[in-house]
């Protein structure tokens, strides 16, 4: 890229924007093959599962061979595989994932109904993890080697090792069955969201807490922190103004990674709390052999994941210009 003439601020700013635009364009182009490959993979689910899709649609028992053959023709299952793939992808691009084998509802409609619930749970889980994790990490670092530090790190250690679905069951036993404070199942209100979000966020919370702790400890050693203290600033100002801001940068990078992890985790948590959502829809579809729905659920989840990672990368490139020139 051409060096902007010295002294022209607006031009320099313009070139910075060009750099960012180039980066975004490059990243967008880079995800095209991934999405294409993903579509091939999702398409092949239907063709790799044992059995004839038309047979599965009609149910397993005693169907006339003629009816099956008719349906095969109607669905285009006798066409060459690449013709079928192009039909699949052109429909998918228009948001058409076919109809459920079981309920005959359009899959896109089902996904649209279920997605907000999953999104809500994932965001709530992530928010829980970040808020509590950052808090725990800071306290642990500032009071290093104290009782608080040890307890925080013990929580973090249990957090990574405790299966989220079991933690969810424990929460239900304690808060729903014993204390009768919060509902065990269902969705809709904030009360329904608290336990699932906590169960989902626990693992990420532990990761965030450990990261923040070591990051804060690193920043505390920096010269500018010593300078700030030497200036006579109160400890509170030093921590909040100087230490915190700088030690939270690595947390930003991790958010994308954790979002994906939580999106995957929601599959299990939705089942624990009998909560509606994409994950529960997909799992039930797998158990029901309703592969049309499985395709839609897997495709949508992976797409959202790719999109979030893209956004995180772009925001990171925006925060740290060095990333753009890799």
């Amino acid at each position: 890229m051409a060096e902007p003439p010295p002294g022209t601020r607006s031009l320099a700013w313009g070139s910075e924007m060009t750099g960012l635009t180039t980066y975004i364009a490059k990243r967008l182009l880079g995800s095209v093959p991934i999405v294409l490959a993903l579509s091939v993979l999702v398409f092949s689910i239907m063709h790799l599962v044992p059995g004839d899709p038309a047979q599965m649609m009609l149910g397993e028992i005693g169907v006339l061979a003629e009816a099956t053959a008719n349906l095969r023709k109607q669905l285009g299952l006798d066409d060459p595989i690449h013709v079928q793939y192009f039909r699949f992808i052109s429909k998918a691009l228009r948001g058409d994932f076919g109809r459920s084998f079981r309920s005959s509802q359009p899959v896109a409609q089902m996904l649209k109904e279920q997605f907000p619930s999953t999104f809500e749970l994932t965001v709530a889980g992530l928010a829980t993890a970040i808020v509590l994790g950052v808090l725990l990490g800071i306290i642990a670092a500032v009071r290093r080697n104290s009782m608080v530090d040890h307890i925080s790190m013990l929580i973090a250690l249990f957090g990574v090792s405790m299966p989220g679905f079991w933690f969810g069951l424990v929460l239900i036993m304690v808060f729903s069955f014993t204390l009768r404070l919060l509902p065990a199942t269902g969705s809709g209100t904030l009360k329904h969201l608290i336990l699932p979000a906590l169960a989902l966020g626990l693992g990420a919370l532990a990761v965030v807490a450990r990261l923040v702790r070591s990051s804060v400890l690193d920043v505390l050693k920096e010269d500018y922190v010593r300078t700030a203290r030497a200036k006579g600033l109160s400890e509170r100002v030093v921590i909040y103004r100087h230490v915190l801001r700088n030690s939270l940068i690595p947390v930003v990078t991790m958010v994308g990674l954790q979002f994906g992890r939580l999106l995957g985790g929601s599959v299990v948590i939705e089942q624990v709390f009998t909560r509606q959502g994409i994950g529960r829809l997909t799992v039930n579809a797998i158990l029901d052999k309703d592969f049309q729905v499985v395709q839609g659920g897997v495709f949508l989840s992976a797409l959202v994941f790719i999109l979030v990672n893209l956004l995180v990368d772009i925001s990171y490139a925006w925060l740290d210009p060095r990333v753009r020139y890799e």
Binding site: I45, P163, L169, G260, G264, G265, V268, V283, V294, V298
Partner: protein, 301 residues
């Protein structure tokens, strides 16, 4: 040590001691690991679990699978220390046999991942070019799936069963290995001794497995320990969802899934299998952390 004049014999002895000072990286790592108290506790947990899994019938008088309706849903007592499930099966017995399954799942799926992932990483890193692009692309695709979803897609294709869940978990663990090995190969292959081996006409496989792979062994061991923990957790999740081990297999995740409906009346059905999973995963994770610190003291915090 005080320096005193040595006799011939003493001199020979101290030479031997000097020779002992040169320790292999593995010995050094082991010495460091032994000083790490948490890691040693974790090692004991893991070893104890292996013993329990191997000798499961020695620790119980019950059968893990056979149903016994009159004993259904009994709370923990001296007869059934962890209570019984809805079919009257002893939970403690099922946990013991479940340890076998969990360890199997961890070891087999990580072995699958290693056998496929390590050669792929070696080849991609060593040859570079198009092979590398293809491998990295495939791995990026696999990583485009959030968390457990790739395993779910694979189980969909293969059908729900314990064996298939191991395959699914193993396949989803491949990218981590490929990345690690490929990265290490890229940094190792520029060394002069690799060039020398090539100049001497060493076959490529010899260079890969004898000259490059040994450099990667320690990070690979650490990754293995951590990913066994992860594999056990993911496979348990699949079984919990009904997509892994099928009843009546005493798998911990499946036990949790089965006990979910009885949570209000039989807390022991979900509490003990959960504790079992947690202790196992905790042990593997702490051991993995300990191994990492032992192999690379610079990284320890």
């Amino acid at each position: 040590m005080a320096r005193v004049p040595k006799t011939q014999q003493e001199h020979a002895g101290s030479q031997a001691a000097d020779r002992q000072e040169i320790k292999s990286p593995f010995r050094l790592a082991f010495i460091r690991l032994r000083k790490n108290r948490a890691a040693m506790v974790a090692l004991v947990i893991v070893l104890a679990e292996i013993v329990v899994a191997a000798g499961a019938p020695l620790f119980t008088g019950y059968d893990p699978v056979e149903i016994n309706p009159p004993d259904a849903l009994q709370s923990p007592s001296s007869v059934h220390i962890m209570g019984t499930d809805q079919f009257g099966r002893d939970i403690w017995t099922r946990i013991l046999y479940g340890a076998r399954i969990s360890l199997q799942v961890g070891v087999i799926s990580v072995t699958i991942a290693t056998l496929i992932g390590v050669p792929m990483g070696l080849i991609a890193g060593y040859y570079g070019g198009r092979v590398d692009t293809a491998v990295v692309g495939a791995m990026d695709l696999m990583l485009a799936f959030p968390g457990i979803l790739l395993a779910l897609a694979i189980v969909t294709i293969l059908g729900p069963s314990l064996a298939n869940s191991m395959i699914a978990v193993g396949i989803s663990a491949i990218p981590a290995r490929v990345r690690l090995v490929r990265g290490s190969v890229l940094s190792t292959k520029e060394n002069a001794y690799i060039e020398a081996a090539r100049a001497l006409g060493c076959p490529v496989t010899t260079i890969m497995f004898r000259h490059i792979l040994p450099n990667i062994v320690s990070p690979l061991i650490v990754l293995t320990s951590l990913s066994i923990a992860n594999a056990i957790l993911t496979a348990a999740s699949l079984s919990f969802l009904g997509l892994g081990a099928q009843p009546p297999i005493p798998e911990w995740g499946a036990m949790l899934g089965g006990g979910r409906a009885y949570m209000g009346v039989a807390w022991w059905m979900t509490t003990f299998p959960g504790v079992a999973i947690m202790i196992t995963v905790l042990g593997m994770n702490i051991l993995g952390d300990g191994l990492r610190d032992a192999f690379d003291p610079k990284l320890s915090t």
